[in-house]
């Protein structure tokens, strides 16, 4: 039999000034199963809480209703007090007499009556509460970082430095990402490689980091603290233990005409290659798509020249299975290329290049050794045009967002050009200059004022070739939209940053949400920017939206802290206010019919499939099953379930029904 204790708080005079607390306590005291109904000036004070603790013992209470302020304020306080008094904390409910009654109504009888209704509703609810135990979930203290760009590197190092194991997966043959392709970085113009490569080496040498390059995530199962990840290690076609990275094979490979991805197609590479000199790991892979042996069945020159006999032509892809506690997605971004733009000739003109190509031209380690030479004939351009917002902020092109980094790198490009070609002229067409950030605007001003870059506010309508020159036609909107025509030797498009190829597929494997542009979605745009909707999976860097290096690194450190916090405990304790699918003995097993419409409705992928099998393995029935590690307790599945087979702890069908009845009927 239920024995309910009700404690009516005056909150000084905050409640008692408008609500007749004595009458509330007295009326509620007459309700069935209420064995104690009392009032006190400050329930949240020490003596107030002691009152509850003692009453629990003295009256052998099975439920407590504290009628005071908002549960959003003091529910944890009173649940803790109940627990200390020996009552399961989930057998305590609060009636909100302050925010929802005394503070919003005048002092009169109706207000006191409403207060009584509110308390009675909670009394009826608490009778149906059940003693819940916190959910404990074990935690595997190994993190996986997907993507070896600067964000992934930072996240991996930060996690590894807290003493936890990290597995890094990178799909290309080397880590480093886009940052390794950059020449200099804004706003300091320090060399990108110089600050990045020590970090890359640190990753490779860190005792807590296991690095898998040329590897991709095959599948992800499980939930926070307990993921099972299958990783496909693509065949590198060599024994990495034997290979010394001498590079002889790469120089002898007869197939040398493959566009070099690292150089953005502006250089060539052999079929067996190390992507760039500072690559980590510094070991080659064979590009089977282009290797003569795999195409024609003979060649094997690399095998012949290899001093350590490390080449393995018959090496298969390998699938490894890893137990992972938390995942950081840091898969980065890509950019649109010149062929995306009909108005700029669909990539037909060799001297219209994108920003990453310009980075390679400006890089000392690039195909031109840092001399700005245009691709068509190797001449140094005397007149260069940079076009910002190429694709970005253009809903007609399907990209309504600002790519964020282009204003800054365009200024950087123009400066680098001016520093290298003193007599040259640099023009920038822009829509707005977005240079928020520490020392960012100063940087742009320097480009304009010190390096005399000609900034033209306006858009370029078309570019075409005439007598070996690229004719750039645009307008200057600051000069009454006066038409501008520039005869350029080279044009650099600051093309939009877009989601990386395969982002959608990976998001689906990870069960995380993504937006219409295939960028991964954060759990909350303001307050949970590094979390995803799937507990235990975090975001770092430009896979979420285009970001510059400082932002990517900050977010990576943020996600590393989230992972470290998760790994600081052996078990994860979660509020038990989760959904549950009913179960019963055979032959029904559950009233769930397994339509799995609830699966679609769950934002957390917390609903799994459970097969009830006979002893010989025949599936008798498939049921929905809630994964307590993932369920956040929203209850959307509960309201959707037609057969009422799912219920929600803390807000059960019985409880909410009783609340409706109690609120509207006097007893």
């Amino acid at each position: 039999m239920a024995r309910i204790g009700v404690f009516v708080c005056h909150c000084g005079e905050n409640i008692s000034a408008t609500v007749d607390c004595g009458k509330v306590a007295e009326t509620i005291g007459k309700l069935k199963h209420v064995v104690l109904s009392t009032e006190y000036k400050y329930m949240c004070s020490d003596p107030g809480q002691t009152l509850i603790k003692e009453a629990i013992k003295e009256h052998n209470l099975t439920g407590v209703v504290v009628s005071a302020c908002s549960p959003r304020m003091h529910e944890p306080t009173f649940r803790k007090a109940c627990a200390e008094g020996g009552l399961n904390p989930y057998l305590c409910e609060m009636a909100n007499l302050r925010e929802h009654c005394s503070w919003v109504h005048e002092k009169n009888e109706l207000t006191t009556e409403k207060a009584i209704d509110i308390v009675r509703t909670q009394v009826e609810k608490v009778k149906l509460n059940s003693a819940l135990q916190p959910i404990k979930v074990p935690v595997t203290k190994t993190a996986m970082v997907i993507g070896g760009g600067i964000a992934g590197i930072q996240a991996a190092l930060d996690i590894a430095n807290t003493g936890h194991k990290v597995v890094m997966i990178e799909r290309s043959p080397s880590i480093g990402g886009h940052m390794s392709q950059l020449s200099e970085t804004f706003p300091t113009l320090d060399c990108s490689q110089c600050i990045l490569t020590p970090r890359m080496v640190e990753v490779a040498q860190h005792p807590n980091i296991t690095l898998y390059t040329y590897a991709e995530v095959e599948s992800v199962e499980g939930f926070i603290g307990n993921f099972t990840v299958k990783v496909r290690k693509k065949a590198k076609s060599l024994d990495e233990k034997l290979c010394t990275g001498c590079g002889l094979c790469t120089t002898k490979c007869p197939q040398k005409k493959i566009p070099n991805e690292f150089e953005q197609g502006m250089g060539m590479r052999p079929a067996i290659y190390i992507p760039f000199p500072q690559a980590v790991p510094n070991r080659p892979v064979i590009d089977r798509e282009h290797c003569t042996y795999y195409i024609k069945g003979k060649c094997k020159i690399c095998e012949i020249v290899c001093p350590t006999k490390a080449i393995r032509f018959d090496q298969p892809d390998e699938i490894i299975e890893l137990q992972i506690g938390a995942i950081v997605a840091a898969t980065g971004f890509d950019i649109k290329h010149a062929d995306f733009f009909p108005e700029y000739g669909y990539g037909r003109y060799k001297d219209i290049i994108d920003g990453l190509q310009f980075e390679r031209l400006a890089s000392a380690s690039g195909p031109t050794s840092g001399v700005i030479k245009r691709p068509s004939d190797g001449q140094i351009p005397k007149n260069i045009v940079f076009i910002a917002c190429a694709g970005s902020r253009d809903p007609a092109k399907g990209i309504a967002y600002c790519s964020k980094i282009c204003c800054m790198y365009t200024a950087k490009h123009a400066m680098l050009y001016k520093h290298k070609v003193h007599e040259g002229k640099a023009h920038v067409f822009y829509m707005d200059i977005r240079s928020g950030g520490k020392n960012y605007d100063e940087f742009v001003r320097r480009a304009i004022e010190e390096d005399h870059v000609n900034y033209i506010r306006g858009r370029v309508s078309t570019i075409y070739e005439r007598n070996g020159k690229l004719i750039v036609k645009g307008v200057d909107t600051l000069l009454s939209s006066m038409p501008v025509e520039i005869e350029a030797d080279m044009v650099v498009l600051a093309t939009a940053g877009v989601a990386n190829s395969g982002a959608e597929e990976l998001a689906q494997k990870l069960h995380i949400s993504y937006d219409s542009h295939k960028f991964f979605a954060e759990a909350h745009p303001k307050l949970k920017p590094v979390e995803t909707n799937t507990a235990g999976i975090f975001l770092a860097g430009a896979c979420q939206n285009p970001k510059d290096i400082p932002d990517s690194v900050s977010q990576a450190s943020g996600s590393a802290v989230k992972v470290a916090a998760l790994f600081s405990q052996n078990e994860l304790t979660r509020e038990p206010l989760v959904a549950v699918v009913n179960r019963m003995g055979p032959p029904l097993h559950s009233t769930c019919v397994g339509c799995f419409l609830c699966q679609a409705v769950c934002p957390y992928q917390a609903i799994e499939r459970e097969d009830i099998k006979t002893r010989d393995g025949k599936v008798l029935k498939s049921l929905a099953k809630i994964n307590e590690g993932l369920c956040q307790g929203c209850g959307t599945c509960v309201a959707l379930c037609r057969s009422k087979s799912i219920d929600l702890h803390g807000y059960s069908n019985n409880q909410v029904y009783a609340e409706v009845v109690a609120l509207l009927n006097e007893y």
Partner: protein
């Protein structure tokens, strides 16, 4: 019809299927469902205007499932029901052979679910025209008129749940009406209980009803309860541009959403 019979015989003789679900003529000449397991008896199969019952309702019954591989005579509503049942994981598509019947009562060649989808896509997926007319009339009424019209209908309801039994999509093993903790729907066949039962049934079929009208046909006291679910089927199309039962991989509209779903009543 001969095509249908010879195809059924062929399937049974070759043991491709263990049963053919179709129609036969009953003793009074009305069509009734037939479960043919012996090819010699396939001659009983009929197919004409009398054959209106939605046979898909049997596909979720345990005793029918036990047959394993089966063939089913299916006009458009049955095909759409099958699509829904596959997408709601109640029926395994690979176990089914569809003996499709076209609008002009000829046998269709439906080799696979995707062929069936192609056929469905070409059909008019709105409500049947006679029901459209009644719906239009009802929608012209004032709220008070609608209320009394429906209350008058519901007053006949004896809560026999024939509407539920006849519906292929009402396959739950425990219906909400059988839940008594809490008692969501008053047990008695009275004004209150009947009204809430019909609301519940219609809501549970929102986005899932394929407009076969079987519930209304099954009602022994003539309540046109199919108009409730058909009205919602219309609204599902108006709001979300979805017809139920057009793919074996569809989610019901109430278990999915689009961020830009339009409504005009939320302030």
């Amino acid at each position: 019809m001969n095509n249908l019979i010879s195809r059924a015989k062929e399937l049974l003789e070759s043991k491709t299927v263990n049963v053919v679900i179709g129609y036969e003529a009953g003793p009074t000449g009305l069509a009734r469902p037939a479960f043919i397991t012996d090819s010699a008896k396939a001659d009983k199969l009929i197919y004409d205007e009398r054959c209106v019952q939605n046979l898909a309702v049997y596909l979720t019954k345990a005793e029918v499932k036990n047959f394993g591989k089966m063939a089913i005579v299916a006009r458009l509503p049955v095909m759409r029901s099958i699509m829904m049942l596959i997408s709601e994981q109640q029926v395994i598509g690979d176990n089914l052979i569809i003996l499709g019947i076209s609008e002009d009562n000829s046998l269709l060649d439906i080799a696979s679910i995707s062929v069936m989808q192609g056929y469905i896509d070409k059909c008019d997926l709105g409500n049947p025209s006679k029901d459209r007319e009644i719906l239009a009339e009802l929608n012209k009424m004032t709220p008070e008129e609608k209320f009394s019209w429906w209350q008058n209908q519901f007053s006949k309801c004896i809560k026999c749940y024939a509407c539920r039994q006849a519906c292929p999509m009402c396959y739950c093993i425990r219906c909400t009406v059988e839940v008594n903790q809490p008692q969501w729907i008053p047990v008695q066949a009275n004004a209150h209980g009947n009204t809430e039962w019909h609301i519940l049934r219609a809501m549970h079929l929102a986005g899932r009803c394929i407009s076969c009208g079987e519930c209304g046909r099954a009602c022994p006291v003539g309540i046109p309860c199919h108009l409730l679910t058909m009205q919602l089927a219309d609204q599902v199309w108006n709001y979300f541009h979805v017809h139920a039962g057009t793919s074996d991989k569809m989610n019901s509209v109430l278990s999915t959403y689009e961020p830009n779903d339009k409504e005009s009543f939320i302030i």
